[in-house]
């Protein structure tokens, strides 16, 4: 008789408990923590990470990795910045920037799928290439001054809620539906689970890989748009290192590094945990230098937990 399998959501519930626990500890430590202003601030800060983590969840569910999302944030921001500076309307700049992000993801996916190359190496390379292009085209300096329409995306509000919060929550909801309710999501997971079996059943695995990376690129482009609009400036180094935060959120959220198992709700909760911790460090006046250490440690611990869950499974 096999051990009874815990339902899929049990890990997500534990995660939710951790989120509440962390929030409770911070609320006790700082009187500012539970103010609406601070909570809104956390949601607003989380927005960028949340958007790239949604794309990253699809990629990691399929057993792949995308290290280029941080660079795409910078690249999309630069494209939008340059177009806005040359006097083009905000709509055109946004659409072009997002399309280019999608195409970068598509190129990643095509090299990985049709060139049969490991996604780690491919996206590491495209990341470096894009960072180089950004520095050349911007001459290593910021582009700024974009006008009100574009800035509204980053700092505007609908009622009491910031636009980036709305964008990120909508994308997270769409991502959850896509991963858990559609054939596309099912194939994402199946690519991570058993690519060969999927292929044998007549599914064009390569096409789906290209689509997965394209969506991840698009998400990074949207994050780039938010970053650029919020700062009202396109920074050449924008988004640097953000891939780490996204990967940490996805793995902590319960998506398996090997693929085949993914949870969008887990990603969202984990993303909030990471950002609440960062916010807590700030409130408690701990240097931001510790944030990187924290993210790194959390990623490490999450991978250890994820691996041990995987092992337990295979020992049953």
């Amino acid at each position: 008789m096999k051990a009874k399998r815990l339902p899929d959501y049990s890990y997500t519930l534990i995660l939710l408990g951790v989120l509440i626990l962390v929030a409770g500890v911070l609320a006790a430590a700082s009187p500012f923590f539970l103010t609406w202003k601070n909570l809104r601030n956390i949601l607003n800060q989380s927005a960028i990470y949340l958007v790239i983590s949604v794309g990253m969840t699809l990629v990691i569910s399929a057993g792949q990795i995308d290290l280029s999302v941080g660079a795409v944030i910078g690249f999309a921001g630069m494209i939008m910045g340059m177009m806005l500076q040359s006097g083009m309307p905000a709509g055109a700049a946004v659409v072009t920037g997002l399309l280019i992000s999608l195409v970068i993801g598509m190129i990643n996916g095509m090299i990985i799928a049709y060139g049969r190359v490991n996604s780690f190496i491919v996206t590491l390379s495209t990341m470096t290439v894009m960072r180089g292009i950004i520095l050349i085209l911007t001459n290593s300096s910021s582009i700024f001054g974009f006008g009100k329409v574009f800035a509204f995306i980053g700092s505007g509000k609908v009622g009491a809620v910031n636009i980036p919060i709305i964008i990120s929550l909508v994308i997270a909801a769409l991502g959850a539906i896509l991963l858990h309710k559609t054939r596309f999501g099912n194939y994402c997971l199946f690519i991570g689970s058993n690519e060969i079996a999927l292929n044998r059943c007549g599914v064009d695995v390569k096409k789906y890989k290209v689509m997965i990376f394209s969506l991840c690129g698009l998400c990074a482009g949207i994050a780039g748009m938010i970053v650029t609009a919020r700062l009202n400036s396109a920074e050449p180094l924008a988004g640097q290192g953000y891939e780490m935060d996204a990967i940490a959120a996805v793995i902590l959220g319960g998506t398996s590094m090997q693929g085949g198992k993914g949870s969008m709700a887990g990603t969202v909760i984990a993303c909030f945990i990471l950002n609440i911790l960062k916010n807590g460090l700030t409130l408690l006046s701990i240097s931001s230098h510790y944030q990187g250490i924290l993210t790194g440690m959390i990623l490490l611990v999450s991978v250890l937990i994820s691996e041990s869950r995987q092992r337990k499974k295979s020992e049953v």
Partner: protein
């Protein structure tokens, strides 16, 4: 298997060599609808090569394959699948982290505008498994949590659902316990009973005699005899396999 009936699958003079080794030296055999045909033979007799050619994984050097009266000089795997010929792989076919239903419907999901109709798929999976008498209590269980027999059952159910007409089993009960193996054998018999053509490769002669309708004996790259199981004794088959008797 009326001998006047046209075979579903017919091979004529299949030759296949790998470098200097002649794996198949003119294989001619037939498989009929609704029968379980066992292919037996010693290691190196050419069973696996023949199976790979039938499922399109290998191309023969010469010879003809006829499926349902259509003639092929070499079959691609795509064509074989289209014709409903599939080899049942126990371990390569399933996604372990996915549930039984997802595995069953893989590539043929029921959707509306790209959205999965999970409830209907679960219901249909349940019905399909019940029809085939495959014992899996929960269709939302992960394939990785299933036993060997249940895994094979899931793989078979998918092929049947996909319109499989000829299923090939290569050592279907290898590394299985007694109960498991009995369940798989029962399933194989049932498939034959429902009009599918089943080819099974096995070393286990008692098992072969238990489930097959006919036995095809291969030796040194040739089919030396096709026998009706009920007219045959096990000793006779053993002698043919080992080459003590090769009467025509």
């Amino acid at each position: 298997m009326d001998s006047r009936e046209k075979p579903f699958l017919e091979t004529k003079d299949i030759y296949k060599s790998f470098d200097h080794v002649e794996a198949l030296r003119g294989v001619s055999m037939n498989a009929y609808r609704g029968e379980v045909l066992a292919i037996v033979g010693d290691n190196g007799a050419g069973k696996s090569t023949l199976i790979k050619i039938l499922s399109g994984a290998l191309q023969p050097d010469s010879g003809v394959i006829r499926i349902d009266n259509k003639e092929y000089h070499g079959l691609t795997s795509k064509k074989a699948i289209e014709e409903g010929i599939s080899t049942v792989y126990q371990d390569l076919a399933l996604g372990n982290t996915m549930d039984v239903t997802s595995n069953l419907f893989l590539g043929r999901e029921l959707t509306k505008y790209g959205f999965l109709k999970k409830k209907r798929m679960n219901e249909e999976a349940r019905r399909l498994l019940d029809d085939l008498d495959i014992q899996i209590p929960d269709v939302t269980a992960l394939a990785g949590d299933l036993s060997g027999g249940q895994r094979q059952g899931t793989a078979v159910a998918r092929l049947v659902h996909n319109g499989g007409r000829l299923l090939i089993f290569d050592e279907p009960t290898a590394a299985m316990g007694l109960n498991e193996s009995n369940a798989v054998l029962k399933l194989i018999k049932k498939l034959g009973g429902e009009g599918l053509t089943v080819i099974i490769i096995s070393h286990d002669l008692p098992q072969v005699f238990h489930i097959s309708d006919r036995i095809c004996v291969m030796r040194q790259g040739k089919v030396i005899r096709e026998l009706r199981t009920e007219d045959t004794m096990m000793d006779e088959v053993v002698s043919m396999i080992t080459g003590v008797v090769t009467r025509d």
